[in-house]
Structures are given as structure tokens and as C-alpha cells.
């Protein structure tokens, strides 16, 4: 699976659907990799 590169704003917009477990593989992977480095998004989750 190739992780899509997503910017902070795009990831932030997807967080509710990451939290409810409905993101598709590539998007979920992109969110997960962003969360590793972004404290603001981690807090939001």
C-alpha cells in the first residue's frame, strides 16, 4: 500500500472519519503517519 502524502489541513479535515474507523487504507495510512509528528492532530483525536 502506498501512503498518500497529505498536508496538515487535509489530515485535520479527515480526523473525524479516522476516529470512526471508516477511512480507506491509503488515507488512513497517511493520517497515521501524520499523527506521529503532529501533536495538535493527536490532541484532537
Amino acid at each position: 500500500m502506498t501512503a498518500v502524502g497529505l498536508g496538515h489541513d487535509e489530515v485535520w479535515a479527515l480526523l473525524p472519519w479516522s476516529a470512526n474507523g471508516t477511512l480507506e487504507g491509503a488515507e488512513e495510512a497517511a493520517v497515521a503517519s501524520h499523527l506521529l509528528t503532529c501533536a495538535a492532530c493527536r490532541e484532537e483525536i
Partner: protein, 196 residues
């Protein structure tokens, strides 16, 4: 049961409902009434109107089953009907309900450490602010948080482009952010509590 098996069963029930099978309709009702009731309650608020709209939605399902085309999920189709009906009901009710969105002062008062009373008060304000969201934003929040729908399904249910769904969620979250931030991650204790 796997989601795919549930969808196959839904499709089969819809075929039987189209053929005017009342027992199949009852089974479909049992499957969806609870979920629909929760969704409609959150969007409409008024319990009597919620019951009326739920009956209305299931009547449309019974009458229009033949129009279901089996390309989308049955649950998406039914929630699409419920969404449409709930917006109409809200519009009808909005004339009777005094909606007072929060002013900045009320939110600012919540600054600083919170005791249980204040936290309770803020939770109440969050509920009120959710009620005050534009219906389309509220619907996206409810379908995401409580019915665990993907943004694609929500686009289908609300008959909106995917970007519109994301934009509605964005605005709803921005609006609720100050209150949610005031609530914070967990209960906080203040020194005054023991002294009181």
C-alpha cells in the same frame, strides 16, 4: 455477521418488501427503527415529531421499495429518506423554537480550571451549540459520530458532493472548538473544592 452478509440480507428483504411481503417489512423495521430513531431524535429533538417522522420514513420505504436500485446500500437509501424528512421537520419546527446561539461572553466565562459543576454546565452548552448548528452541519456530525458513516456514505445520504461534506464538518468543528477545548481532556480539580 459480516457487513457484506448484512447487506445481502438487506437486499433480500428489500426484494421481498417490493413484492409486498409484510413480514419482510417488519424485519427491515426491526433492523432500522432503533438507529433511525436515534438519528432523528438528535436532529429533530421533539419526541412526538420524531415518532411521526420515523413512521413517515418507514411508510416511504414500504411504498417506494420498488424504486430502490440495489447499486447503493439499503441503509444508505433509508438514511437518505430520513435525512430529507428530518430537515423538513426541523424547518417546520424552527418557527416554534427560540434558537439562541452562544455569545462569546458565555464561552469566555468558562476559562480556567473547572470543577464538576462548571464541566456539567459546559456539557450543556455543547449540547445547546450542537442544536444551534445549521441542520446540514449537524447531520454530518451525527452521521459521523453516532452512526459511524464514511464521508462517501454521508455524501450519498445528504446528496451532496464529498467536498461539501468535509466543509460542513470543518465548520461544525471550528464552531464547537472553543467549548470542547474548555472541557479539556478529563476532570480537573481545583484547590477551592476541598475548602468549600
Amino acid at each position: 455477521m459480516s457487513p457484506m452478509a448484512l447487506q445481502d440480507e438487506d437486499d433480500e428483504l428489500m426484494r421481498r418488501v417490493t413484492a409486498r411481503d409484510r413480514r419482510a417489512f417488519e424485519a427491515l423495521y426491526q433492523r432500522y427503527a432503533g438507529r433511525l430513531h436515534r438519528y432523528l431524535t438528535r436532529l429533530i429533538g421533539n419526541p412526538e415529531v420524531t415518532e411521526e417522522v420515523l413512521d413517515d420514513v418507514m411508510l416511504v420505504v414500504w411504498q417506494s421499495a420498488g424504486r430502490f436500485n440495489y447499486t447503493s446500500r439499503v441503509s444508505t437509501w433509508i438514511f437518505g429518506i430520513a435525512h430529507h424528512k428530518s430537515l423538513k421537520a426541523r424547518a417546520r419546527l424552527s418557527g416554534q423554537r427560540a434558537e439562541t446561539p452562544l455569545g462569546g461572553d458565555e464561552i469566555a466565562e468558562a476559562d480556567g480550571p473547572l470543577d464538576a459543576t462548571v464541566r456539567g454546565e459546559i456539557s450543556r452548552l455543547v449540547a445547546r451549540e450542537l442544536d444551534a448548528l445549521p441542520p446540514e452541519q449537524r447531520a454530518v456530525m451525527e452521521l459521523t459520530l453516532y452512526d459511524e458513516r464514511s464521508y462517501r456514505e454521508i455524501a450519498e445520504i445528504t446528496r451532496s458532493p464529498i467536498n461539501t461534506v468535509k466543509t460542513r464538518m470543518f465548520h461544525a468543528r471550528k464552531r464547537l472548538a472553543p467549548l470542547l477545548a474548555a472541557l479539556g481532556p478529563g476532570p480537573r480539580r481545583t484547590p477551592q473544592e476541598s475548602a468549600g
